[in-house]
């Protein structure tokens, strides 16, 4: 055996730590990629937590402007929520379709996901536009600042997700279900599902907790 190949039988493990299991070596690429992306998502969630914290701190600072309960529309939020939940489901279906390499179902599921995402964005955009038109834009008060930033940050993520989704579809169209494309698809699904988790926090903390009288 060459030197670089064999290591340390003589001195092996003075503390008998390695008795239990030997590490099998580098993980396969799919695991490495997904794990890295998982770590990224966690860091993204930490970023969101700052906006949540800012919202919690500033929620009462209305500076004479409106309170949450005066501007939130529960019905819109419910529709938005249903859109996102359904889109998470269809995104899951797209993931399965990709794994079994079924193009038709993949495109279909992705297209539905995209449409649901766009509906969500449209409703949110309209909500924002209405508020600004009524003079309740983010510069009106610290509360509105925090509200627009938190909800808007989620909205920006969804927009980025839609862009990624379209790119993903184009890539499957051009390259088929290659291993690297499948890895990216897995990351995309993780991303999309994670946004849903954030949204659960948003509608609970912002719209429902703050919407009550």
């Amino acid at each position: 055996m060459t030197m670089t190949a064999t290591l340390g039988h003589a001195h092996a493990d003075p503390h008998h730590i390695g008795r239990a299991t030997e590490h099998p070596g580098p993980a396969p690429k799919r695991i490495v990629t997904a794990y890295g992306f998982w770590v990224f998502l966690l860091s993204d969630i930490v970023m969101f937590s700052c906006f949540f914290a800012a919202y919690a701190v500033l929620v009462d600072q209305t500076a004479g402007g409106p309170k949450g309960s005066e501007i939130f529309e529960q019905r819109n939020v419910a529709i938005e929520t249903v859109c996102l939940l359904l889109s998470s489901f269809t995104c899951g279906m797209a993931g399965i379709a990709a794994d079994v390499r079924n193009r038709l179902w993949f495109y279909l599921a992705m297209a539905v996901t995209c449409v649901l995402g766009l509906i969500f964005l449209a409703i949110e955009f309209k909500e924002f536009a209405d508020l600004v038109a009524r003079g309740y834009g983010p510069s009106r008060s610290a509360f509105l600042t925090a509200f627009f930033s938190l909800v808007g940050c989620h909205g920006l993520h969804v927009s980025a997700g839609v862009l990624w989704l379209l790119t993903m579809m184009a890539q499957v169209f051009a390259k088929g279900f290659r291993a690297d494309v499948l890895r990216r698809m897995m990351c995309f699904a993780l991303f999309w599902h994670a946004l849903d988790i954030i949204w659960v926090g948003v509608f609970s903390v912002v719209y429902l907790l703050g919407g009550g009288a």
Binding site: L208, L209, G212
Partner: protein
């Protein structure tokens, strides 16, 4: 070399991947997840707007429901479970949650105390000495 000592390779699972399942079972998983999520969401919206429950319990209930729903998403959509091959994913999640908890909790706590100890000037003037 790499093929020589080929022991049974035990790797973790990728976050997002499930253990081997048939397509049917996988779809079923999403259906169950979606059902639970919709149920919890509906409950949240209902509780927030109702007069039927004791009002002060509402915020607590909403937070509990939100956490439950996040759990549902994690298990049924992101497939983060407590299985042995998921250890690393769960540990990362735990670390992330710890930080989220420290940042949000710490901020709220600290800021509450700062407001309490540094009230606006007019309130300071009215304080009993």
């Amino acid at each position: 070399m790499s093929d020589q000592t080929h022991m049974h390779v035990e790797h973790d699972i990728a976050p997002g991947d499930e253990e081997q399942h048939s397509v049917r079972e996988r779809i079923l998983g999403y259906v169950v997840g979606l059902g639970l999520a919709l149920l919890l969401t509906a409950t949240s919206f209902f509780i927030a707007g109702t007069n039927l429950v004791w009002q002060p319990s509402i915020p607590v209930a909403l937070i509990v429901l939100a956490i439950a729903q996040m759990g549902v998403h994690l298990v049924f959509f992101l497939h983060i479970t407590t299985g042995p091959d998921n250890t690393n994913n769960v540990l990362a999640l735990a670390f992330g949650l710890l930080v989220v908890f420290l940042v949000v909790g710490g901020t709220v706590w600290i800021m509450a105390h700062l407001n309490q100890n540094m009230p606006p000037m007019d309130q300071i003037m009215q304080m009993p000495r």
